[in-house]
Symmetry: C2
Subunit: 243 residues, 2 copies
């Protein structure tokens, strides 16, 4: 689990990457885009279940996910775990490490994955040269702060079914932005991992899925989920908007 994953010295180019609009700022001419390719040093493959980085590990790079699906989690001294996020293609992972030069969470691949390794020194150097990149990085970090604010609302104020509805709506929205279905999901995480993220036990997550299924809102077959009635889901997520 903890052995270093293979560093692959394949030079890759953001300029040719179909995920560029997700990871990188827009508005560059092709000449600047060439220079921007320098943020990515290498790619790295991470097998399902393996760590991309671990709590306590030295921070050197951010990672842009090319393929695959990750979870980040922190654990208390007594072993309790909290999943702090699920990350998919085009998203940036590793921001937690900047403040102390050490990572403060574990990033684990939930399926075989490939990431672009972006040494943070490169990012900072190029950010000083390219205001568009600087702005982009600021937005990436601010977006993460705002996302976590939303999770706090979820954990502090919502009941189990509201949390699951919010989670599913967020997930399909992000998948849809990547060209996937708005209604069909194959979950990459277990009920326990969903529960950890949502501050619930796995049984409660399972029951909420079953309830939604009984009510005709979802079709659920283990990891496969189809949203039959998205409006009903939105109504559960935020009742007041609809009543």
């Amino acid at each position: 689990m903890n052995q270093p994953t293979i560093q692959e010295a394949i030079k890759v180019a953001c300029s040719n990457c179909n995920l560029r609009e997700l990871c990188m700022p827009v508005g560059f001419d092709s000449e600047d885009m060439q220079k921007l390719d320098e943020v990515v040093a290498t790619r790295r493959r991470v097998k399902q279940g393996d760590l991309l980085f671990a709590n306590g590990e030295a921070f050197t790079s951010l990672f842009a996910i090319r393929t695959g699906f990750f979870k980040t989690c922190i654990s208390a001294a007594d072993g309790r775990e909290q999943v702090t996020g699920f990350q998919m293609a085009g998203e940036i992972i590793g921001l937690d490490g900047i403040v102390s030069d050490f990572h403060s969470c574990n990033a684990i691949a939930l399926e075989d994955a490939e990431v672009c390794v972006m040494p943070f020194a490169n990012i900072e150097d190029l950010s000083r040269e390219f205001p568009l990149l600087q702005r982009h990085m600021h937005k990436v970090m601010s977006r993460e702060i705002v996302r976590e604010n939303g999770v706090m609302m979820l954990l502090g104020n919502m009941r189990a079914e509201e949390r699951l509805a919010a989670f599913l709506l967020n997930l399909v929205q992000r998948l849809h932005a990547r060209g996937l279905s708005q209604t069909e999901i194959v979950l990459r995480m277990t009920r326990e991992e969903i529960g950890s993220y949502l501050g619930l036990k796995l049984e409660t997550v399972s029951r909420a899925f079953s309830k939604f299924s009984d009510e005709g809102i979802l079709e659920v077959k283990q990891r496969y989920v189809r949203i039959i009635d998205p409006e009903a889901l939105k109504k559960i997520f935020n009742p007041q908007t609809y009543c």
Copy 2:
């Protein structure tokens, strides 16, 4: 409540500010420090109960707190509120606005306060010029991400008394870093605001205070709190570290 607070055109200098080590990077020579003063455009006073900025308001500036105490909170469509943080002197507030150019939370002064207005354009311009400032801003944002990760652990995994213990320990630690007592606090927020931050109802917060008081861990008189037994508090916050 919502009328704009007075913009004061007092030119102030970070170079002479006793909070500089909290807000600003260290390691500048006096010449660079002069240029760095340009990040702060003006100061602004905010009265107790008034908004520093509001959800939906255009984002233009970050704010460094000179004096006073703030809360930030978000509210759902149905009125449920979540306090996302409490901020004190030397801390930076407003990072939520960067991603969308609009603030996504309310920042409310819990006591009369004064802030340094730092137009974000100034920060970005000077960050390109001064790597130390650039690094500092990245750390400020990363620190906020890591803080929120910790709050997620709190909200997702901990019981009421653990949450309150964690909250109090965090508060005294930050106050102590500002030269105040490690053991005595005068809370700036109500039981309801503490509860909102911790995902609890005000009655539960009050009961936890009373329990700690009964057990001889705290002395509690309304907003005044004295920590009699810090070790016991740490033990509650994280049992496994001590057993």
